[in-house]
Every structure is written in C-alpha cells, then in structure tokens.
C-alpha cells in the first residue's frame, strides 16, 4: 500500500514538473514574439573614465594664464592653454547675462563655488580633472566622482517623474537611443558654475547628456545646455572620455572640505590681518 502511494506520489510530481516546463516554454516563446525593437543589450559603460582637457578651467578657448597661486608655485601654478569644447566656439550669452559672467570672472577665486568644495553639478562634474566611475544596471546608472566623493544616480526606470526640490546634482532620467545613453538633468540649484572662469546658469537649466561608446576605451560625451534666462539658444559641448587603463585603476579620495575651509573662513580667525572684512568682502582700504 505504502509503496503504491509512494510511486503514485512520484508520478504526480513528475507529471507536474513536465507540465510546468511546458507552460514556461510557452510563455518564453510568447514573450519572444512580443520583444520590443530596442536592442536588448545596451552597451556597458561601466568603468573608470576621465576627460583630458582644460574645460574645467574654461569651456571656451583660452591662452595659458597666471592665477593667484602662481606667486607661490611658479610654473607649476599656471592654467594651461586650451581649445574651446563648445560647438561653434563661444557660449551664446544674452547681453545682460554676459555682463554677469564677466563679473563672476573678475573675482573667480572668491566666487567659484567649487573652490569652496561645493558640488560641481552637471555637466561640470564630468570634466573636472579627476576620474569618475560608472556603475551600470538595468534600472539605474550610478556615477561616482572622485572630486569631493560626489555621486549621482541616473534613473532608467521612471520616465516622466520629476524632483520636488532642486539639488546640487539635479535629477537625472536616462534612456537608451540605440547605442547612446541619453540623460535629461533638471532641477539643479542655480548656484553652480559651468567652469572656473565664471560661466554660469540659472534656476531653469536643463542639461541633456549623451554618452556613446565609440570603442572599448573611449566614450564620446556631449552635453546640451538649455537655459533661456541666460543664453540666447541651447548650446552643446563635446568632450572625449578616456578609460583609465592602468593596473589597479580605482577612485581614490579627494575630500575637499578641508581644502576649502581657509578660503571660506580664514577672515574670521583671531589675529587675521588680511584684506577681507567680516562679511567676506574685500575691504576698500585693503
């Protein structure tokens, strides 16, 4: 009797397994027939990448120049020359906005938020002269930046959403267009600059980035800057990203708060005898 039940049980199990197999196979073939036309295997952008230019000093073309630290570091402390990464050469400012850019530029060491270790935002984080690491999954692409150990998440699975508040890195939504990762970045705080030479934006900035893997070790990066309060039209920068290929390449630490502290607070120290007043402005008698 027991033997009978055992074998009955075994055959029921076997039949169940076989029929489940059948069901699964049917489902698979159905889903294959309904497969979307977009490539199911997007390129893998994972790895450590870095730009190799002077865009973080100045997006537009510039000659080599001195800066405040040149007094102390000599030839090590100059800004190298660089070609413009802006399509068309110059950034198309509205006339009043260009005046503000020039005001920014005249006092950039005090006004550049990144000098204080504030988060550079997008796209400046991409072309800071520090590497960054891309980690890619189907639902999110995470970028970790060595500068300041900043990071951002590009959400691939929630199109049409928006952030309720502005932030320093903004809100990034991504999707694939064939082999190109397209990222739409909104809601960045208006307090970031686009480079160290005073190029800036307003509160309604929208950035569209495009990452295209052109070969194993190079990404062609483009970013379109769109802010009608500051610029007369959207404009695009184009920069190659190179893979960091040395053995053991990894992100190291660049915690920059300590580097920015003296710039921010030195004038509040006891015994300070420099040119700044208590509110940080340069005294007229300095």
């Amino acid at each position: 009797m027991i033997r009978l039940l055992k074998s009955l049980f075994a055959s029921v199990v076997l039949l169940t397994v076989i029929s489940l197999q059948g069901c699964t196979q049917e489902q698979t073939s159905e889903s294959n027939m309904a497969a979307p036309l977009v490539s199911s295997d997007p390129p893998d952008l994972s790895g450590i990448w870095q730009t190799m230019n002077t865009a973080s000093w100045n997006l537009e073309g510039h000659t080599a120049s001195k800066m405040p630290v040149t007094n102390i570091l000599g030839a090590l402390g100059g800004i190298p020359a660089g070609m413009s990464v802006v399509e068309g050469g110059e950034i198309p400012y509205l006339p009043e906005a260009l005046e503000r850019r020039d005001q920014n530029r005249s006092d950039w060491t005090n006004l550049d938020p990144v000098a204080k270790c504030y988060i550079p935002g997008v796209p400046r984080s991409t072309y800071m002269p520090w590497p960054f690491q891309i980690l890619q999954t189907d639902t999110e692409i995470f970028i970790a930046y060595e500068f300041g150990s900043n990071s951002r998440t590009i959400f691939m699975d929630r199109p049409g959403t928006e952030a309720p508040l502005p932030s320093w890195m903004g809100y990034s939504l991504g999707h694939w267009e064939n082999e190109t990762l397209v990222v739409n970045v909104t809601k960045q705080v208006p307090d970031t600059w686009l480079d160290a030479s005073g190029n800036y934006h307003g509160a309604d900035l929208v950035v569209e980035e495009r990452y295209t893997l052109v070969d194993e070790n190079r990404i062609q990066y483009e970013a379109t800057i769109d802010d009608p309060d500051v610029f007369s039209r959207p404009w695009t920068i184009k920069i190659p990203l190179y893979r960091r290929m040395e053995d053991g390449a990894r992100l190291l630490e660049y915690k920059c708060v300590e580097f920015g502290e003296d710039l921010l607070y030195d004038h509040l120290r006891k015994g300070y005898d420099g040119p700044k007043a208590l509110d940080g402005s340069v005294r007229e008698d300095a």
Binding site: P164, L165, P166, S167, K187, V189, D191, L278, D279
Partner: protein
C-alpha cells in the same frame, strides 16, 4: 555555576562600569549640532511681510531670502533659516510654492548679532501665504521655543 577567571571578571566589571557611566552621561541636556540659543534671540520675535527674493535649498538649513516692507515704508533685506529641504518638503513646501516673488508673512526670531551684514538674519518659525495657509518652516530639536508666538492677538 562555572568559576570565571580573574581576567574575565575584570573585563565584565569594566564593561558594566562603562555602560553605567555612559548612561549617566547621556542624561545631561543634549546639545544639538546647532543650538537655537547660541545664534538666535528668543526675546527678539519678528514678523516680516514681503516678497521672496531667493531660496537656498541646502543642508543643514535652508535659507529663505526676502525683502521685508517695514511700517515706515522702507525695505529691509532679510534671510531666514529654516529646516532641511526634506523637512520643508514634508511640511508641504516645495520650490513651486516658495518661488521668487511670492508674497509671504514670516514669523520668527532675530539673530543675536544685530548687524545686518550682509542681510538681517533670523530663525524662521512659520510662513503664512496670502490665502491664509500657514506652514511651519523651522528646524526641530534645536531648542527653538515650542509655545505660542508673542503678540498673536493683534493678528
């Protein structure tokens, strides 16, 4: 009952002492990262009516900048400290509600520092909009006065 060696007895004694000692220490009044009374004056309540000129959605405190219209018709520039952006968001304040140009009434407390350099400063308590809605904007846990706002009856 096993007989523990002297070393173990000593360890247990030290561990217990540390635990009791720490508990005692924690009973003292907790200072937050930023005590209200170190920067702001509970005896200087302010009531400011005017327009928002700038919003800083930053941590550890957001800052609301406004141009206040004083009783004598002059204008004064103010910046009011609020809670974190997340705290404000939970109260229902977003950047669509706090836009540049929005008319508001802010109640709070002025800073102990009387010099308005670069702007007069205060700790914001609540914001009232023209439609009568009032939303708490302050930080919690910093020792800000919890009770009613003085001179509420002349509203």
């Amino acid at each position: 009952m096993r007989d523990y060696g002297d070393a173990v007895k000593m360890k247990r004694f030290l561990a217990l002492t540390t635990l009791i000692g720490t508990t005692i220490c924690l009973q003292s009044p907790i200072q937050g990262h930023h005590a209200f009374s170190s920067e702001f004056d509970i005896d200087k309540p302010i009531r400011l009516r005017g327009e928002i000129t700038r919003m800083e959605w930053v941590n550890p405190h957001s800052w609301l900048h406004m141009t206040a219209m004083l009783d004598d018709g002059t204008r004064e520039e103010w910046m009011l400290e609020g809670g974190t952006p997340n705290t404000l968001l939970r109260q229902g304040l977003t950047d669509k509600i706090l836009q540049i140009g929005t008319e508001i009434l802010v109640r709070g407390y002025q800073s102990k520092d009387p010099d308005c350099i670069p702007k007069c400063r205060g700790s914001g308590r609540d914001i009232t909009f023209p439609d009568g809605r009032s939303i708490f904007m302050g930080s919690s846990g910093v020792g800000a006065p919890p009770g009613g706002f003085p001179e509420d009856d002349d509203q």
